[in-house]
């Protein structure tokens, strides 16, 4: 795995997530925007060796915290989910677009829910409609995830990101 390439991809994704460019794709009165970092987390967790997946997951969590109101919750949740996804890659196969979308939906919902709860512990004020926005963001991210996944797969040729393990299928 080329770490420099990973860092560049992560930086671009973080800038997209924190910046205004994704507002172009925002929908509804709640300005629902897709999350790209969550697709990055799932992609690298499934495609990398355990050691790399752990580092990637925490790094992506750190990037997610940079775009969030408080630091820490995403690092913890992304790190835990990343290693869990990596270990369960033997049984969960993300072959078809719908499978990828379902995994992204579930992972986003779980990580953001737990991050939100940790944020509340840290003193972030509760927000109305949080779970509605969470649900629609998860759906939006899931819908777009096969496209982002394909882009990451295409870039993997340049970055040599996924080092295939025997007995696994990567799309």
């Amino acid at each position: 795995m080329r770490w420099l390439a990973f860092i560049v991809i992560l930086l671009i994704t973080t800038l997209l997530e924190a910046g205004n460019l994704l507002n172009v794709f925002a929908i509804g009165g709640w300005m629902i925007r897709p999350s790209i970092l969550i697709t990055l987390l799932v992609y690298y967790s499934f495609s990398s060796r355990s050691r790399e997946a752990v580092i990637c997951a925490f790094a992506i969590g750190f990037a997610a915290d940079l775009t969030a109101p408080v630091m820490g919750p995403h690092m913890i949740c992304f790190g835990l989910l990343g290693i869990l996804l990596n270990q369960s890659a033997q049984v969960i196969l993300a072959r078809r677009a719908v499978h990828k979308a379902m995994i992204i939906f579930a992972v986003y919902f779980v990580t953001e829910t737990f991050s939100h709860w940790l944020g509340l512990l840290k003193g972030i004020p509760a927000q109305n409609n949080y779970y509605s926005i969470l649900f629609f963001t998860a759906v939006y991210s899931a819908v777009l995830s096969p496209v982002i996944w394909s882009i990451l797969s295409a870039m993997s040729g340049w970055s040599s990101a996924p080092q295939k393990r025997p007995g696994r299928i990567y799309d």
């Binding site: 795995m1 770490w3 973080t14 800038l15 924190a18 910046g19 205004n20 460019l21 994704l22 507002n23 172009v24 925002a26 009165g29 709640w30 300005m31 629902i32 925007r33 999350s35 060796r49 355990s50 050691r51 790399e52 752990v54 580092i55 925490f58 969590g61 915290d65 940079l66 775009t67 969030a68 109101p69 408080v70 630091m71 820490g72 919750p73 690092m75 913890i76 790190g79 835990l80 290693i83 939100h116 940790l118 840290k122 003193g123 004020p125 927000q127 109305n128 409609n129 949080y130 926005i133 969470l134 963001t137």
Partner: protein
């Protein structure tokens, strides 16, 4: 890279990073917030890409001599309401201070710090990042105005040296002290306004005997040292009896400024030396 660190087991790496994460999480928010603010300040040029590129002059250009664009109408409406608010404030002042001729304090250009919106904070809050911070005398709690300085759009919530977070009025955690006033009357209804998270705001706890109607204007209340004179915030678009609390009204406010189109704002850093007397 991983191969060179083979003396560390996967579990060691995981637990090391997990402990780092927990430490970051438990570290005081005031310190860790500086990391994200540093990121925002460092990459603000890239983060600002994609913001609405429309300039005020573009928005004010009418389609023809007989029609007004929506933005021009909004602009004129805000100007009219602000002048009206100032007129009424002067009227009140004159009545109270009969023989003393005093004008309302006005904001001088030096009391406003113009800033560009460079980014947003997460997907869940209506918060934005601006490219000015404590170096430019910006402090938490200061009011933020639209680019034309004619309406309040938010409040500074967090500040670093080179950047600051603005919590927009539409954020569900943002409250604002306001007055409701109808044209042609001199009676204010004081209340608090809270964001709905969907581009509108609500005014809770107004009893049904209060005469609040659709079309009434909402002004941000003057706050000594923060906002020298009332400034328009929006217009009441819906008034109905609250289903849960039948003795209270459920009031919806449409803000004068479209928060999704904000590109530049100005922060009021007013103090006594920066005020001019009208």
């Amino acid at each position: 890279m991983a191969g060179r660190n083979s003396h560390l087991s996967n579990a060691s790496i995981f637990f090391s990073l997990f402990i780092v994460s927990v430490v970051v999480f438990l570290w005081p928010k005031s310190d860790t917030a500086k990391i994200s603010m540093l990121f925002q300040a460092t990459f603000q040029r890239f983060l600002a890409i994609g913001r609405d590129a429309g300039t005020p002059s573009d928005r004010l250009r009418p389609d023809s001599k007989d029609t007004f664009s929506r933005s021009e109408y909004t602009q004129l409406w805000k100007d009219y309401k602000n002048v009206y608010a100032q007129l009424m404030a002067v009227h009140d002042e004159n009545e109270r201070l009969a023989k003393l001729r005093t004008g309302l304090p006005q904001l001088s250009a030096e009391g406003l710090v113009p800033a560009q919106i460079t980014g947003t904070v997460g997907n869940y809050s209506h918060e934005v990042i601006i490219d000015k911070g404590s170096i430019a005398s910006i402090r938490p709690g200061q009011y933020v105005l639209s680019e034309q300085h004619d309406s309040v759009v938010g409040v500074v919530s967090d500040v670093s040296e080179a950047a600051a977070k603005i919590r927009l009025l539409t954020d569900t955690r943002q409250t604002l002290e306001i007055h409701i006033r109808r044209d042609g009357t001199d009676k204010n209804i004081d209340a608090m306004m809270v964001g709905n998270g969907d581009g509108t705001c609500s005014i809770p706890l107004i009893e049904i005997h209060q005469k609040v109607l659709e079309g009434d204007t909402v002004y941000a209340a003057a706050v000594p040292g923060i906002l020298p004179a009332p400034l328009v915030v929006g217009e009441i678009t819906d008034v109905r009896t609250d289903d849960k609390e039948p003795l209270l009204l459920k009031i919806t406010v449409r803000l004068a400024e479209d928060m999704t189109r904000l590109d530049h704002v100005s922060v009021i850093v007013v103090n006594k030396t920066l005020l001019i007397k009208g």
